[in-house]
Structures are given as C-alpha cells and as structure tokens.
Amino acid sequence: MALLKGTLDVLVLKTLSWGPMHGFEITSWLEQRSDGQFDVTDAALLQALHRLEARGLLGAEWGESKNGRRARYYKLTTAGRAHLRAESAALMDYVHALTTVLAARSAHE
C-alpha cells in the first residue's frame, strides 16, 4: 500500500531508533516489519533520508556494509529522537481516533 503523506519520515526515524543503518538496511527492515505492506521506492527513501539529515534529525557517515561495500550510514540525532517521540505519539493518537470513528456502528448496520 502507498504511504500516507508525512508518515515515511516517522517510519524512517522509527527504523533508525534500532541503531545506525544504511539505505538498503532501512528499506529491508521496513519491509520485514510491515510484512511487505508498505510500498516505499528506493529513490523516495534516499530523498527522505537527505531531507531528514538536512533538518538535523539524522546524522550520517560513510562506513562499510556487511558485504564490504562503501555505504552511507544514518543515525538518529537527539533532535531526531525527540521528533520521533512527538510525531509517533501524534500519529498514534490520530490512528486511534480514526479507528474509533471508522469502527463505530451506524444505526442501520
């Protein structure tokens, strides 16, 4: 399924809360955790990473991947961690409210 606007950032931050990862590790992790439900293209992911780094939510460095390839590793900054906390709480509240409304039984049902 396609992602709702703005949720990719939170998902990326959440992923990185497990530790530093490079681009492919992030997308693999997301794929696993969502049972392949989230459809994130690689180009969109890399752009999101750059955007988050520009906002100071992520830090990055070049390192070596498990396969011996030069890869750019991303890590949450303090600001990123705080942002993740706030955004995921808001998102969860939103989803909860959404669920409550959509799950309500109407009179004629």
Partner: protein, 898 residues
Amino acid sequence: MSDHSTRGPAGIRSGVRRLFRIPMHTPERVTADANDELSAMLDERVEHLIARGMPPAQARAEALRRLGAPLGDAREMIQSSASAREREIRLRRSIEDLAQDVRYAVRTLGRDRAFTASAIAIIAFGIGASATVFSVADALLLRPLPFRDPGALVWMANGTHGGLSGQTAQVNHLVQLHEQDRAFADVAGYFAFYGIGDASLVRNGDAIRLSAVPVTQNFFSMLGVKPELGHSFTPAESATDPTNVVMLSHSVWQNEFASDPEIVGRSITVNNAPLTVVGVLPASFDFGSIFAPGTRIDLFVPFPLTESNDMQGNTLALIGRLGPGATIASAAAELAVLAPRITAAHPDRNAFTPSLSTLRSHVVGQIHPAIVMLAFAVGTVMLIVCANLSNLLLVRATGRRKEMAIRAALGAGRRRLVRQMLTESVMLSAAGAAIGLVLAVIGTATIARLQTVNLPLLGDVRVDAASFAFVVLLATLAGLLFGMAPALQLSELAVHDALKSQGRGSTEHKRGRRMRTALVVSEVALACVLLVGSGLLIRSFLEMLDVDLGFRAEQVMAIRIDPDRQVLGSQSRFNSYVSEALRLTRALPGVQAATIADGLPFGKNRTWGVAAQGEVYPGGHHPVAYVRLATDGMVDAMGMRLVSGRDIAATDDSAGERVVVINQTMARTLWPGQEAVGKIALIDTARRVVGVVRDVRHLSLDQAAGPQFYLPFRQIQDYPIVELIVRSTLPASSLARSIRTALAPIAPNIALNEVQTLDQIVDRSVSPRRFFTLLLGGFAAFALALALYGVYGVISYTVAYQRQEIGVRMALGATPSIVRRRVLRDTLELAIVGVVLGAIASWIVARLLRSQLFGVGAGDPATFIAMVLIVMGVALLSGYLPARRASRIDPTAALGAG
C-alpha cells in the same frame, strides 16, 4: 550540544561506527557521493535478491523497478536532494556558530561591565557624531533639491560680481529670453528685492509681519511644485498690476489660518489691501531654505512682467529649466550669442551678461568645502575611536590568554577564535551604534531647529533611511577594523600558548606593546590634526568678530515702520511721516539716537552706477556703488565714524540741495588723492558730497564694503523698506513696545515680531562659521579626551607589567621620585612622537583648510604652539596617575608576589 557534532578523525572502520560531523564538501564531491549512495543501494538489493535465488538479470531488473523511477531521473533526484541537504546544513551550522559566538560574547562582555560601558560610550559618541555629520551632508549635498528633475535647474546670474544688482536681470531680459531662447524649457524668476517682514497681515485687529516674495507666473510650474490646495497663479492673475491674489506657504497656512481647508477663495488683508488666496504650497516647498537661508517666506504674490516693473531695473533672480538634450554648456553657448542681442534691444539700460551654474551649486556651492571639512574631521574622530577601542581590546586581550588557550585546546581553530573576537567587537560596535543613532536623532533635530543659522536646507537635516544605512555600515566596518588587530594577535597567542602552555613570553609582550604604542601615537597625532584645524577655525572666528565693522552694533535695534501706500505715494507726505516718527521716537526716555533707513547691514543691497562730475570713463564703464537711503541721525544711531564733512541732515529734503554722503572707498574711487567733500557726484542726479564716512561692512563680515553712498531719504522717492533704527540702553523688546505706543497715532500697525537688534543681525551673519567652528571644536575636544584615555591606558598597563622590575629598582635604592620621573618620561616620549607626527600632518591639512580661514595663516604659529602645549600638558596629566601608582609600589610585596 547535539551528539552528532562531536568530531573525530576520518576513515573509521565499520564496527566502530562512530558518527562524526561530515566535513563540508565541494559540489562535485557531494554529487559523486550521492551517485555512490544510489549504486550501493542498487547493488545491495541485487545481491540480496540473488542470495534469495533470483537469476542475476532478473534481480537487476527488479532492483531498478524498486527504484521507483528511471535510473537517470532517480540519480538526478538524489543528487539534488543531497545538494539541498548540504546547503541547509551549512546555513544551520553557521547560524548555530553565530548564535554561540553571540551568547559567548554577551557573557564575556557582561562580566566586564566597566570595559563594556566605556567602549560602548566611545563608539556611541563616534557614531553619533558621524551620523549627524552624514545627515547634514546628506541634506545639503547628496539629496536632490525638492523639485521635479532638479538636475535640469540652472541659476542664471546676470554678471558675476557681488551685490544683488549684480546678479539680477530686468523684466525685458526675461521677456526676450522667453521669445528667443531654445535651450531652456522654461525660465522663471522672483523679485530679489523683496523685504523680509514686508507684508503686514492684519488678523483680529493685530498686525503681524510676514515676508512675501513676488514671483513670475510660471515660477512654481517651472520648478515643478504643485500647490497642496488651489492652483498656482494664472496668466490673468499675473497680468494686472497691482495684482490681487496671493499664495500661502504651508507653515503660514498652518499657523495663521489653522490649516483651514476652505482657505482658497477667501480674502486676506495684507498691507491694508485685500488679496484673494488662490493656493497653498506644500510643506516640502521651503523657499527660504533654498533661496534665502535663515529666513522664512510666508506669502507669494505675482510679479507681472509689465513695462513699469521693467523700469525698476535689475530686479529679477532668474532660474531656468534646461530643455531635453540641453546642457549648461550648450545653454551658455546659446546665451553667448543671444545675450548681446537682448542687451542691444535696450542699449540705454543695464547689460544682460548671464552666467550659468546649476541651481544646486548656487545653493550649496559656498558651503561645500565646509561640509567636506566636517566630513573629514568626523572621519578622523572615527579613526581615533577605532584606535582607542583597538587599544582597549588589546589590553583586555592580555587578560584573556588563558581562556583563549583553553578554547584552542578544546579544538577551536584559529579562524573560529578570530571570528569569536570579531563577533565581540561588532557587538560592541552595534550596541554603540544603537546609542549613537539616538544621539544622531537628537543632534539632527537640534540642527534642523537652528532657524537662525544662515545655511540652506538645514531644516531638512534628519536621520533617514540613508543615514540609517550609513550607521549600519559604519558600525560593522568600525567593529571589524578595531577588532581585527586584537583578534589576530590574541588568536595567534592562544594557539601558541595551547601548544606550549607557558605564561607570557617577553617577545609577545614586546610585540603587543609596540602595536599598542603605535595605536596611541597615531591617536595623539590625529588629535593634533583636529586641534590645529579647530584652532585655526576658532582663531578665524575670533578674527572675524574682531573685524572693524565701521558701525557699533551694540545697543541698536531696528523695527519696521512702513507707512501706508498713500503716504508712500507722495514725497511731502512721506517726509512729514519720517520727521514725525523720528521726533516721537527721540522724545522717548532712554533713546540716544534714531534714524530711518531703507535697510540694515547684511541685508538686501543694490548697486547703481556713479560718476565724478567732469570725469570721462573709458567705454562708459562707470564705477558701481552700493545704495543706501537714510535720514539725519544716521552716523549717531549706527555708530558710524565721520571722516570729514557732515552727516545727512533733517534739512536735506526735497527743497534743499541734492546731497550725498559717501564712504572712503567711494571717495578714493571717484577722487583719488583729493578731498571729496564739496565735489559733485553724478548719481540719480548731480549731488554734492557733504560727508565721507568710514567703510561699513554691510555685505558680510569677511567682505570689504566696496564703494557705498548714502542718499537723504527725504530727497528720493524709492523706498521699498522703511526701517526705524534706534540706539538706546533699554532692552530691545521694551523699547519696541514703547515705540509702538508712541508711534500709534501715525503708524497704528507696527508689528512687534520683526524687531531685530543689530547684534542679532551680526550674529546671524557669522552663524555658519560659528556652526562649523563649534562642531569642529567639539570633535577636537572629544579626540583629545580619547587620546588622553589612550595614553593613560598604555602607561598604566606598562606600569602594571613592570611592577616587578620597578620593585627591584626600588629595592636597589631608586627613590619614588626617580620612579615617577621615569614613568613621566615614558609618557612624554610617547606624546612627543605623536605631536611631531601630528604637527607634520596638521601642516599639510591646514593648507587644505585655507579657504575656510579668515585673518589667520594656515601655518599660524600661535595655533601650532598652543596645540603642542595642550597635547603635552594633557599627556603629562594622563601619565601622572600611573606614575604616582608606580612610585607607591611596595618593593617587598612586588617581589614577593612574583
């Protein structure tokens, strides 16, 4: 601080995975990295898929599909997001650094309140003075005149020699110009012999004196001034003579008519005649500030270009607007051909010999050098301010070496330290500028209110956007300038100290001391230049006040007593009016002498051609002399000095012989080497010279009188102005009231707002010089104080630094007085070097000042000697406190502390 900003060396292997701050890359590097990142992503996925059993070609296709865009597009998208990221990070980082520097600067400056306060005060004065002078220069020299396309406006003087008659043209000249010239889009004029306070406006039974200027019909349209209410004069309104319409200045409309929006069409009574108001001029149009500095013009009436007005002679001041494509040169070339033809049309009349200049240079040309002088002076003050602050910062820097060394050890690079120091100095400068701006607002408001100072456009002086931009620029530059030397030195020492962890080294100390000594010496030298400059100006000013005026201005007052028109219309009625006015005035207690004249010194003047009877003048070139009308009592009332013969007498009236009193220059001109009394001069008619008086300075204090003659008022019917001049020991205001009461039977409408004392008039004529002298003197005093402070700082520091050495000397038997003398000698050495350099610089600068000097040479020894004495005295004074401190050093304590 965020964790990602901790730095570490590059090239860390995986597994360690320490995050460090990515160094800033070139755009090429950023692009290459973005490509690498993308290919790594693809390769990892391909490998992953192959590992899960997919054939390589299919794996590759799948990886490209998961990219979400064609490879080329994706690459571009990633590249642009990467470079956007770099830009944003760089911006954020510099803002963070700046914020950190500012926070740090506020903390350190806040800790050192005394230093901060004195530094800010010094900058505030410097910037306040600079901004004020800039605003004056802006209003007088930089801002365009408040007219439409002012660059095309040209002042057309008829001839180049002094006197209003020598500048003005006749009506027929203007009429012919209108018909024949091509270069000008339009030429207009105003009647130059209007009298200040000529128009008596009667309102609610009380008369007030206003000033009215007659202008040609096209005057306002030529300048491009649109009335705020109503309209400018129409040709019909300007044709009839006498005219019966009037336009009001904005201020008179505001003050006398309460800004009545219905004023247009109303009738007002001026000089007992009803005039219809046809328009009100905008506030931006101030005739006085441009054409007659130091005066206020309230009313404008039409000046018809009629034959009778033509017969009045040279009366019109002409201003032209150049047509499209025309220049002053092309207009002058055209007039060179046209003018002789215009003259030839009336060969018996005065010639038309126009000389052109831009209106701006006519208005401000004379004071241009004075403003430039002020600008240089204030620039010098600003340099001294910078040198002084540099010095203060250097002294402070020595106390901060440890702090800087710690920062350097913590990884702050040299550039970062320099930036930190410069942030501090720019912040100091900004704080000073904020206060300086307030000072400038006060300063400009004060200057703009100086209505009695005889300078054009002064009312327009204010702090505007341009001045504000100037202050911002100046503050930044000054902050960088005075912060640079200390910052460089301190950061260098800090990096040095961090490596070697040793206290003060004597080489560095020597270098710092040399730099500071150099700064103080230049401060002293610059202060010398300002002292000499202002000293020369003060001497000129005193010389000017000392000028033999030819009359005594003290205890003389003048009041306008212009009679009604019908009295003016007949010589006999006028003569009895004059006699009666003089009789009533002289009868008042406290009145010593009284006369009636058609003007006062430093006011309007006109020139007529004169001749000695029987003399033939080659080419008809008659000598030209200034005209003044007066009655008996002139010599006594004005305090003039009679050289030979007699004063004008009460009996010199229409029945008596036609006589004249002349000044010494005129006597020398017409009858060189002979006794003039008894000779016949041809003026308006043949007149016998009955007296010769000492020359009276009537043009200005620094200008010789030229030939001048005095006609008996009762013998000539040509008096636009009737001025009662009274010598008395009584205060002017109470005397004016009693004169008003005494003259009520014959002159019921005397206005008290136009009472002047001759002292005031003399004062106003020296007002520009006083204005510039006071400003420059103030700058010099400030500069001297700063130099004193600088010398004091350096000597105090030296004493503190040499504490141990002095202690040793004293332990070895040096008496306090020896120590004191040594410190004073150091101070004097410093001062002498400064004074010598300053004297040389002053010698050069004084030469450039020559045009501003009066009665004193540029190399005036008295001024230079005074400067040397003042500077040496002040230097000794500033060295005295540290010297005393040095002599009180307790040897045991000084050595023990070491």
